[in-house]
Symmetry: C2
């Protein structure tokens, strides 16, 4: 099943030119996810030497220069407004920054109506040290994940991320190394192509957590196309916007050499909701027997199932979700709380819903 496509939305392409102009050409409500890695406005001056006397090559690019906060704020306000316009109602945006700019971005985004879902910390185990010993080593960057507005929906593939995190709920602090080694794109001179290339693992978590297959992921500061490469691997569509020809060529080459990866996880099978089949349906299908006993997970007799699908403890006739409250003081998901006996063993009543679903489909 593919998403509906809007012919005005040019997917899997890099749009060359000014970020704000290109955004203005995109239609309202057409993008599922935006990842934006804008200039940070680092405000460094002079040169920084390592303790061994070599020069640290930070960001000296023209694209990171702004006159003052006012000019930077205006620039960001403009591209963020366009981003919000083109997002689908249930779309979301991720923005990355560091302490130099992230407080500008967060403030502006809240004022524009974006709703922060999480701020995520990219903790870098291999960040450069503070050579001069003047502050704490700056070993993280910050990501803002926002829905379009306070009450708008959004995609979050909770179970998929839990699985990826070793079975534990994924948290707002991500430990990911900076992009070095083979992954770091280098030119013929052996120097890094882009001064701030992001690691694919970062984009992997972003895209996997908050898109569905075939969604459209837009990156208004595409650079060397990490967003495009990861989107392609995961079976999502991308749109890149980039001004500099040098980066565009590298990105095209990179994405052409990237293939979609076969991995069932990316199709979000873990996110599938249980089949909508009621206890009454299970009785009609002869999965549950009217008046048979419902047990809890410890094998204690709790109540019996009635032929109308409700359960009774001899006093009250309640839904399977309300009955647990009489025993443990709060409502529960009855599908996971109740068991019946089959061949002398406890069997979750939830299993029967999947059996019926399977039988229907085969």
């Amino acid at each position: 099943m593919t998403n509906k496509t809007d012919e005005r939305v040019p997917v899997n392409q890099i749009l060359e030119g000014d970020c704000i102009e290109r955004l203005r050409n995109l239609p309202d409500n057409s993008i599922d996810l935006i990842f934006a890695d804008p200039p940070y406005f680092m405000q460094t001056d002079g040169i920084l030497l390592r303790n061994n006397g070599t020069k640290f090559e930070g960001v000296e690019d023209e694209w990171d220069k702004f006159a003052d906060y006012k000019e930077y704020d205006e620039f960001c306000s403009n591209w963020l407004k366009e981003c919000r316009r083109i997002l689908k109602p249930k779309g979301a945006i991720w923005v990355i920054g560091s302490f130099q700019n992230i407080y500008r971005l967060g403030y502006i985004m809240q004022n524009l109506g974006f709703w922060i879902l999480n701020d995520v910390i990219w903790s870098k185990p291999n960040a450069p040290p503070n050579f001069k010993g003047t502050r704490f080593q700056n070993s993280h960057e910050t990501l803002l994940w926002c829905s379009k507005s306070k009450n708008s929906g959004y995609t979050f593939n909770y179970k998929t991320m839990k699985q990826e995190n070793g079975g534990k709920q994924d948290s707002s602090v991500w430990n990911i190394g900076i992009c070095i080694g083979q992954e770091r794109l280098k030119g013929e001179d052996g120097k890094k192509v882009h001064s701030t290339q992001k690691p694919e693992k970062l984009l992997y978590k972003i895209i996997l957590s908050s898109t569905k297959p075939n969604d459209i992921v837009l990156d208004p500061f595409f650079g060397t196309g990490t967003t495009g490469a990861v989107a392609k691997k995961l079976g999502r569509n991308f749109i890149g916007i980039e001004r500099e020809e040098k980066y565009i060529q590298e990105a095209k080459k990179r994405i052409d050499n990237t293939n979609q990866e076969k991995n069932e996880l990316y199709n979000l099978g873990l996110e599938e909701k249980p089949p909508k089949i009621s206890t009454y349906d299970l009785i009609l299908k002869n999965k549950l027997i009217p008046n048979e006993i419902f047990y809890n997970s410890k094998g204690e007799e709790i109540c019996k199932i009635l032929k109308n699908g409700k359960v009774s403890d001899g006093i009250d006739e309640l839904s399977i979700h309300d009955m647990p409250e009489k025993f443990i003081g709060r409502r529960m998901n009855g599908w996971e709380w109740f068991f019946v006996k089959r061949d002398g063993k406890l069997k979750s009543i939830n299993d029967f819903r999947y059996e019926v679903k399977y039988e229907r489909e085969n």
Copy 2:
């Protein structure tokens, strides 16, 4: 040696009443460090809560004063302005918040002229989970450490923090558990006094890293006085501002039951600079002999020391810091780079400075 005290500054007391009013009564340029744990703005229900979960009482009966970002921003702008006014020229401020409010705070602080030195992540290994599985577990809070302005000085006890961090430069991500167990204040009913009391370890790192002994640490949202208790332990002075009588009583009791801890680390011996004794002084003291050879650490002959304290390689007469550039291409700390021979063994010229210092003091 104690710091100069300003009689208008009431140290080691809790000032009862409205935060901004109390701040207004403090003199300009009188405080070394501020730690602020301000109310944060919960837009979900329109109620303003402290990070410790207690309701924040603004100006009497004006709850809706904080009904939107604008009013919250004004409140923060007001107390932050006062904080900046009362800070000494080389003073600094730490502010803690979460994603709901930290972007307001950071933006306002930058606009007021505060200069961010680091944003520090308090990563909580035992944070409560996201019960509904709707987002990433929010497992961190953010601290902003700022100097009064871009070029103002500040205190950073680099070597002390490096020592505390197992010999490695301390970083901007701090892994500290939330406050539980014995440390957690509980009322007579056995219930916690605060829902999210700050751990002492957090304040310990803040105060130890950025104050000197006897400095004055002000907390305008004092609560139950974690800042005061840790300041006392470390041999620093505190000033608390708190509006609620209940918390003032708890804080007083707590601080009275706290004692200054004896630990040489807190006196910042590690931060001491080498004695200011020149090579010329060492010649006068007969530690160095005019025209003797200076070696590098490999025992190679580099130059000779002249009677005026400069060194000469037969061509140039330079300082001990400039001479290494002729041999390895960059300036070095000559005190650590040069050696002389005594009893046939290499001896660092730096050792002589400590010898002279010791002889002077005894």
